[in-house]
Amino acid sequence: MNPFASVPSLNMQGQYNSPNTHKYSVILPTYNERKNLPIVVWLLANVFREHELAWEVIVVDDASPDGTQEVAMELAKVYGEDKIVLKPRPGKLGLGTAYIHGLDFCTGDFVIIMDADFSHHPKFIPQFIRLQQAYNLDIVTGTRYRSTPTPSLSGTRPGGVHGWDFKRKLVSRGANFLAATVLNPGVSDLTGSFRLYRLPVLRHIITLTQSRGYVFQMEMMVRARALGYTVGEVPITFVDRIFGESKLGADEVVGYLKGVWSLFTSV
């Protein structure tokens, strides 16, 4: 008899006739994502169903006024209350605490964090999972700057961005070079926030991080490396700002420099 088709095997987390019995939780912090959330969830559901993976999405909504929570409840009716878990919060309390809040409700053993604005495409998640399983990594991060994964993996396409002009690319490369020289993080894309973490690893790192904003993502990666966790990278395509323009002001630059300095002196 096929051991994977036995009753206990089918009732395991995997729930599929496949050797991958892990469950993958996606934490989506949302604020005013009423238009984007259904589509992101649709893309995620398709990817997970196509690759026969057990999954759940935890929507951490910071009291959005535009009806994000209502649309999340409708999605829970379509996909299942166990698959779309809505855990709202009373106000706009920040990204780091949103992850901590979401982590309390995770029933998976791997956590994926990503943006809900289409800049991160769920189609890369199976590649993250493949790399993680091939090398038993603790963290897999998406990189916009490389064309091949590290450690090596076949069947991936080069990374890239869409919607960035030359100035934006220059600033991005410059910022990354600065962070790489000062901090030596061992990853090519330090500010990226499309990552797969092992659950205990994420819990451990997140209790240590103190910054806020996108420096928070940098700090998590730097701390992970300092603690000796293994990290791999997969190239991703980053489609920036489907709707709307993004401006890079002097405040952001100063904030970034201060963030890099504080990481340099504290980790």
């Binding site: 238009k35 259904p38 589509i39 649709w42 893309l43 209502e70 649309v71 409708e74 999605l75 009716k77 379509v78 289409f118 495409h121 700057y145 064309s147 080069p158 990374g159 890239g160 961005v161 869409h162 919607g163 030359f166 690319k169 220059l170 490369r173 410059g174 990354n176 070079f177 020289t181 901090l183 030596n184 395509t237 980053f238 489609v239 489907i242 340099f264 002196t265 504290s266 980790v267």
Partner: protein
């Protein structure tokens, strides 16, 4: 020990060695003293210029190899459309 402290420690050690050789406190076994006198004072400037050249080359290479992905954008727009239609059928209020 934070990274800043490690870097500062290494920097102090190397600067100390450099100054000791410069002021002839430490001998260098296999080089003539006048060659050492010509080389040693310019080593810091050489390091600075090398780092500058490396930075520029790294930035230039990074910009040159920065990929664009127009296909990803068009595919994504199509998928957004498919998603909207599918979810509308399933009963989620879209737009």
């Amino acid at each position: 020990m934070a990274r800043a402290h490690r870097v500062a420690t290494y920097a102090c050690v190397f600067i100390l060695i450099h100054l000791l050789i410069l002021f002839a406190v430490l001998p260098i076994p296999f080089l003539e003293p006048d060659i050492v006198d010509q080389l040693l004072p310019v080593i810091p400037w050489w390091l600075l210029v090398s780092f500058g050249a490396y930075s520029l080359a790294s930035l230039g290479l990074g910009l040159f190899t920065f990929q664009d992905c127009p296909d990803a954008y068009h595919d994504l727009l199509k998928e957004i459309n498919d998603a909207k239609n599918d979810l509308r059928e399933k009963g989620v209020t879209m737009d």
